[in-house]
Amino acid sequence: MKLATTRLAAAFVAAGALTAPAYAQQLTIGLKSEATSMDPQFHNLSTNTQVLLNVFEGLTKQDAVQRLEPSLATEWEAVDDTTWRFTLREGVKFHNGSDFTARDVIYTMCRVPLVENSPSSYTIYTGTMTDVAADGDHAVIITTDGPDPLLPTELASLPILSADALGAEDEVTYAQGGCEGMGEVPQSPAFNSPDVAVGTGPYTLDEFTRGNQLVMSRFEGYWGDAPNWERVVMRPISSDGPRVAALLSGDVDMIESPPIQDIPRIEQGGFKIVDALSNRIIYLAMDQEGEAPSLGGTNGENPLLDQKVRQAISLAINREAIAERIMGGFAVPAGELLPPPMFGTSDRDVDPYDPERAKELLAEAGYPDGFQITLGTPNDRYINDEQVAQAVAQMLARVGIQTTVDAMTASQFFSRRNAQEFPIYLAGWGAASGEMSSPLKSLLATYDKDAGMGVTNAGRYSNAEFDEILREAMTTIDDAERETLLQQAGTIALDEFGIIPLHYEQTVWAMKPELSYEPRVDQYTIASQVESSGEGSN
């Protein structure tokens, strides 16, 4: 270790001597994936959001543990159940020098449905807005068609555009189904130009070469704390091995999600690892709707309909062992769908590992000899997903449930999962909003196309009481009241073993020792939040 430090120090001296001033203050990050467009309203997906949050900002923002903070809005309040009033920050400039006013907010909301060919539209945030009106230059009143307590949270993911840079008229008025004064609305490809991709964020866009790099430089007129880096380069390196190699060889200063198998090697090289619990839960979902496919030894019955069987499955799993041995310690056994103390969690105990009790429960349910089942899992979506599924299968086999693992690439897994082809499957859920209604609404609410509930509830768990409480929570503006309702709903579903939480993934970053980064629960890598702690060569 001593030797390594010395050698490292020598390397820094050498690097310091060689580095030309032109490269001073530059941060290069190796990302796992690339933004599909520089238009912040084109593709609503976290890989785009994390990159674009350097250039653009929303009215609100989430800190490292997804608590809501003021950003372009300094404060907000619910005037009544369907009206929100946002006070806008004064003195904020866009990269092109124009002032940030209510007009920009209205323009932003108006443009969302006008973006063509969007693979995943931001209308999921603006769909409920019946009116967006200015109240002077520095306040906006948003009216929704029903109570929408999550609106301020969701607006953190909706970056504000510059009405001037995009060619809006002087007066922009909001109307659902067609705003006025929009002018010629630039489409997404136009955003490759720094003249159009104008935000209020700490960095301005310099250059975006698809597949190769994204270059940004410091915005001197930024309203907040001046960012640390003069220039930031983000490079997409999608394969794990090459991404680690790029860090080890000094090509990049920091990488996101290094494979956990390589972490000892990276630490040996003198690099720093930071990690934190993420908002992503890895869970097992079970078919709870009539006849399940791919079962054996059950005389055509679906044993998963029996709560005792579901409980037996949960008790048969040694979560500690999975977190320690398969996840290399980069996971924490889970008792609910979001790590406490996030909003809506109730500090529920993790189910114990008790194979004896599991066998008893199976016998009570009428399956003393167990049965055969197929466990579906992706093999390239979550950290070590297939290995986790294999371990679960072995643990289930020990209590008599003969489990075959059916692993496949994520794209195929999602299609087959949504077609309900698996009696039991392993998957993950990251709560983008950072609170409990996100997993409850998608994973446990009764599947209902018209209401837009239970989208990812492919096991079709359904409980009327749960649905009722959740619906009430989702229309309750008061935070304390809403949290209690969410806790109640979560407890109902988990008491029935409607879903089996396995573990919370930990997100890992690796970087040069002189850098520091506060790890984010939402797994975002945001360049402006990377700090330089030492005087180092950079």
Binding site: L45, P119, P242, A245, A246, S249, S411, S415, W429, V455
Partner: protein, 325 residues
């Protein structure tokens, strides 16, 4: 001759059509793109809206008819992910792949031919044997593993070269090339070497076999008898004659190098067409995958077609037998 041409053209067309069907069905089988593209928080109505906009709600046969209809008009569709014409996005990546393949080709010839000739002239020497052993390694070790090893040695351990990515580019003839900047060249060496290794082994073996044959020919013996220096005999008399088969093979291999630099580009994060293909497969960007494969088919079918035509000019037997058959 005309009959032969028409028949060959017909065969090429059938190959293209067969590939179009296979590619379309194959891509259709690998899952629903909407499941991958859309934000997991989107509700069923939004999923349905995207599905409809991408035309994925229609039955398979109808999608196929639309696809063929557009294909006949030269339109390969819009990328699901980028919302722009697929061909445009692929062509954007073409220069990166072309320069990689070109440099790899040069490396394969410049290193491969002299080594092959050496091994051919002195087949039983230690040098000759080691060259042949090396070429077997080049053939049989997997490409991605060679790439990782190159990165490990030259980037991580020695720190001489960058581990991946493309360097600074300059605009040459309307294309952005990194070949003419120092930074660009540094980035180019490792991936080009990786891509060249297999072809290099091929060239070594070809050059060696031909050298052994040519070295025994009368004109070489005569040149020696005339008292020409060994150097002149090798560079003029041997080299010239072994280059014909080498050039023929490499011409054909260039097509496959451009089309299938996939592994190298992935390992070195090289922003070329192959990397684009892999990314598109992960994102299930069907139009891009189909467009890429169709372009590849077109390139290879065209090269083969041209080669066949050239053969028929060079070798009258081909023409005659084809007319009769």
């Amino acid at each position: 001759m005309i009959v032969y041409l028409v028949r060959r053209l017909g065969q090429s067309l059938i190959a293209v059509v067969a590939m179009a069907v296979l590619v379309f069905l194959g891509v259709y089988a690998i899952g629903n793109p909407v499941d991958v593209l859309i934000n997991p928080e989107a509700n069923q109505a939004e999923v349905a809206a995207v599905t409809q906009r991408l035309g994925l709600d229609k039955p398979l046969w109808e999608q196929f008819v639309i696809f063929i209809g557009n294909l006949l008009q030269g339109d390969l569709g819009n990328s699901f992910v980028y919302g722009r014409p697929a061909v445009e996005i692929i062509l954007e990546r073409l220069p990166a792949t072309m320069e990689l393949a070109f440099v790899a080709l040069v490396l394969a010839v410049v290193i491969g031919v002299p080594l092959g000739v050496l091994a051919g002239l002195k087949p039983d020497s230690i040098g000759g044997r080691s060259i042949m052993a090396g070429s077997i390694l080049g053939f049989s070790l997997p490409n991605f593993w060679q790439g990782m090893l190159l990165i490990l040695v030259f980037a991580v351990m020695l720190g001489w070269l960058p581990a991946g990515g493309r360097g600074q580019t300059v605009e040459v003839l309307g294309m952005r090339l990194s070949l003419f900047t120092w930074d660009g060249l540094q980035h180019l060496i490792l991936p080009a070497l990786n891509l060249a290794l297999f072809k290099m082994s091929l060239v070594i073996r070809l050059a060696r076999a031909n050298t052994r044959e040519v070295a025994l020919q009368d004109y070489v013996k005569f040149a020696r008898a005339k008292g020409l220096s060994a150097r002149r005999v090798v560079t003029v008399h041997v080299l010239k004659n072994i280059m014909i088969p080498v050039v023929t093979i490499l011409g054909l291999e260039l097509g496959s190098m451009v089309a299938f630099a996939v592994v190298t580009e992935t390992v070195f994060a090289w922003p070329g067409m192959g990397k684009l293909l892999i990314d598109s497969i992960n994102l299930l960007d069907r139009p891009l995958i189909v467009a890429y494969l169709m372009l590849t088919v077109l390139i290879i079918v065209t090269i083969n077609f041209v080669v066949d035509i050239l053969y028929s000019f060079l070798d009258p037997r081909v023409r005659l037998s084809e007319v009769k058959g």
